[in-house]
């Protein structure tokens, strides 16, 4: 890995609601190298979006810091931050909510350039056209409104919007979760294509491990705001170390009707961030939990080169994983 483009250190985030403290993120640290695609997976409510937005300072972290290309983002003044913004962009999950219903596609695509006062009106429109081309949409889309497009097309527009500012880092927050399978594949292909062509660095958020595998070089597994495991994707899918990762993998239903796998169904549900379990937060659902798990928070440690996990047990057999 070269010098990291993004490095996140001890990021924590908590909210107070109705007088109770909700710890959404706790001591999150990771790095993303230039040109690297890192996946972030976890169940709903595990804090994926919060990480993604904290990285771009769309949410103010409670503590910890985020460095982008050597610049400390946390604590940057709002004007300085505004200057940094074009270099990092966000792609949203919901293709319906992420495009203003009251703007034409042209206006949506040139909005960022306008905010940043880049180019003349003409030049901005030209860049919008280029962006549309990049996502395989016809140029005449520029005068239409978002509601005239299907979900997949809208998601492409969202991607094009992120591209107009020529960012170095893209945070893609579940960009394909809302799409139908047939469309999902189109968008995954497009994203991978663009990433390779433009050399983008990307934080790719998803709850679907199968999708993440297609795009990412490395994967971070999140549970209740804590990192459970980080590994290169080839490594992770072949040799998942953390019981949670294994459970996630085994829960994905497969279309291979014949090869019925032995599944390991997790019991219970993700606990509330208002009162997380002591020690390892996963222990309440972990089939391998032992007494010691409730004692101390397991630290994230390297178990193989580039493979980190937060589990005190190393003795769990790989078992029936695929």
């Amino acid at each position: 890995m070269t010098k990291p483009l993004l490095s996140v250190r001890d990021l924590s985030k908590s909210y107070t609601s109705h007088g109770t403290q909700l710890t959404i993120l706790k001591d999150i640290s990771f790095e993303i190298g230039k040109g690297e695609v890192v996946g972030l997976v976890g169940e709903s409510g595990s804090g994926k979006t919060t990480i993604g937005r904290s990285v771009l300072r769309l949410v103010e972290p409670s503590s910890g810091n985020v460095r982008f290309d050597g610049v400390e983002l946390t604590g940057l003044s709002s004007t300085a931050m505004r200057r940094m913004r074009p270099r990092m962009q966000y792609i949203f999950q919901d293709p319906f909510a992420s495009l203003s219903p009251r703007m034409t596609i042209g206006e949506i695509l040139t909005e960022g350039l306008k905010i940043q006062r880049i180019g003349t009106r003409r030049e901005r429109l030209e860049r919008a056209r280029v962006a549309l081309e990049q996502v395989d949409l016809p140029a005449e889309a520029i005068n239409r409104y978002a509601h005239e497009f299907s979900g997949g097309q809208r998601q492409r527009i969202g991607i094009a919007r992120a591209l107009t500012l020529a960012p170095e880092l893209i945070v893609a927050d579940e960009p394909v979760s809302a799409l139908d399978v047939s469309i999902q594949a189109q968008v995954i292909n497009l994203l991978r294509d663009l990433q390779q062509r433009l050399g983008l660095t990307m934080l790719f958020i998803s709850h679907d491990l199968a999708v993440v595998e297609y795009i990412c070089d490395r994967v971070i597994v999140l549970y209740l705001g804590r990192i459970m495991e980080i590994a290169a994707s080839s490594d992770l899918y072949a040799r998942p170390q953390h019981p949670y990762t294994r459970a996630l993998l085994s829960a994905i239903p497969s279309t291979d009707v014949g090869a019925k796998r032995e599944r390991q169904v997790l019991k219970g549900e993700i606990p509330s961030p208002a009162n997380p379990p002591s020690g390892c937060v996963f222990r309440t659902r972990c089939p391998h939990a032992i007494e010691a798990c409730s004692q101390a928070v397991p630290e994230l440690r390297e178990v193989a080169p580039g493979h980190l996990k937060a589990c005190i047990r190393d003795d769990i057999p790989l078992g029936a994983m695929p």
Partner: protein, 291 residues
């Protein structure tokens, strides 16, 4: 789908208009409002009496070919006064609506889009104004401002804006978290951009509906103020102060044309505007977008 129409396609406003036009009640409202408005605006061109010309010899005469709506207690032509009163009532209504819309929108939008402190202080202030008993507020404001068109406009505006501010704030608080606004923030948008590029277009339905219904409301408020001897002072005509004449039993009973016509005009206008407002509300209903 994309090949359907090469030209610029209808925007959200155009689609709202489409939906508006198939609403029969709303179109009926328009059909009611447009001729009335045209008459009110053009009456000096084709009506020979002036609203303030008195004729003590022809006072309290009933409707006739000469005076369509009869004459009032000093022999002024009621038709001319209804028209002139319409001008003033509508002017007051439109101006106060605009003023309160501007105040309400800016207050609500800035509250929602700037920091938590500004929001808290702003909303407490709105609460305060809304806790103030409206009767007192109205009376006191009116005695401070005095009578006449602009004081009345001011009084009505000051009374009406907090409601809009709340609605706009609620809408924008929700909007603030919407992805496309987060996207704009992510591209470095500041308050003015959010306010006018996102806040305004996305409150347009609230504003339009508020505006129409508020115009109706303001006409009624003006009438009420004039009834209390505030508002538009005679001899200037307004629907409200013309109706004030109905207080006198003699007028109520013996010269009904002196209040029936302004009353009818007022109810008709408010009704038409309410119909239109309703139509607009339906037309802008976000759920309608789904179909």
């Amino acid at each position: 789908m994309l090949a359907r129409t090469p030209s610029r396609s209808p925007g959200p406003l155009a689609r709202a208009l489409d939906r508006f036009l198939i609403n029969r009640a709303a179109v009926f409202g328009i059909c009611l409002a447009v001729p009335v408005l045209a008459m009110i605006l053009t009456y000096p061109l084709w009506w020979s009496f002036k609203p303030n010309d008195i004729d003590l010899l022809a006072m309290n005469s009933g409707p006739s070919l000469k005076h369509w709506f009869g004459t009032d207690g000093v022999g002024r032509d009621v038709f001319a006064r209804v028209m002139e009163g319409g001008r003033i009532s509508l002017l007051v209504a439109v101006a106060s609506t605009l003023l309160s819309a501007v105040i309400g929108f800016l207050f609500g939008a800035v509250s929602a889009l700037s920091g938590r402190w500004a929001d808290a202080v702003g909303m407490r202030f709105v609460d305060l104004v809304m806790t103030l008993p409206p009767v007192i507020f109205l009376l006191v404001l009116a005695s401070i401002a005095g009578t006449g068109i602009w004081p009345t406009v001011l009084v009505i505006s000051l009374l009406s804006w907090p409601l809009l501010a709340r609605m706009v704030r609620a809408r924008l608080l929700e909007l603030r978290e919407r992805d496309f606004v987060v996207a704009a923030r992510g591209m470095g948008a500041g308050l003015p951009h959010l306010l006018f590029r996102h806040g305004l277009p996305n409150s347009i339905d609230i504003l339009v509906v508020y505006a129409t219904l508020q115009i109706a409301n303001a006409i009624l408020l003006e009438a009420g103020l004039s009834f209390l001897g505030l508002g538009i002072a005679p001899p200037a005509a307004s629907w409200g102060n013309m109706l004030n004449a109905a207080r006198s039993t003699a007028v109520l009973e013996q010269y009904p044309w002196q209040w029936l016509f302004p009353g009818g005009a007022l109810i008709l206008a408010v009704l038409a505007i309410n119909f239109i407002g309703d139509g607009l509300r339906d037309a802008f209903d976000p759920r309608a977008e789904l179909n």
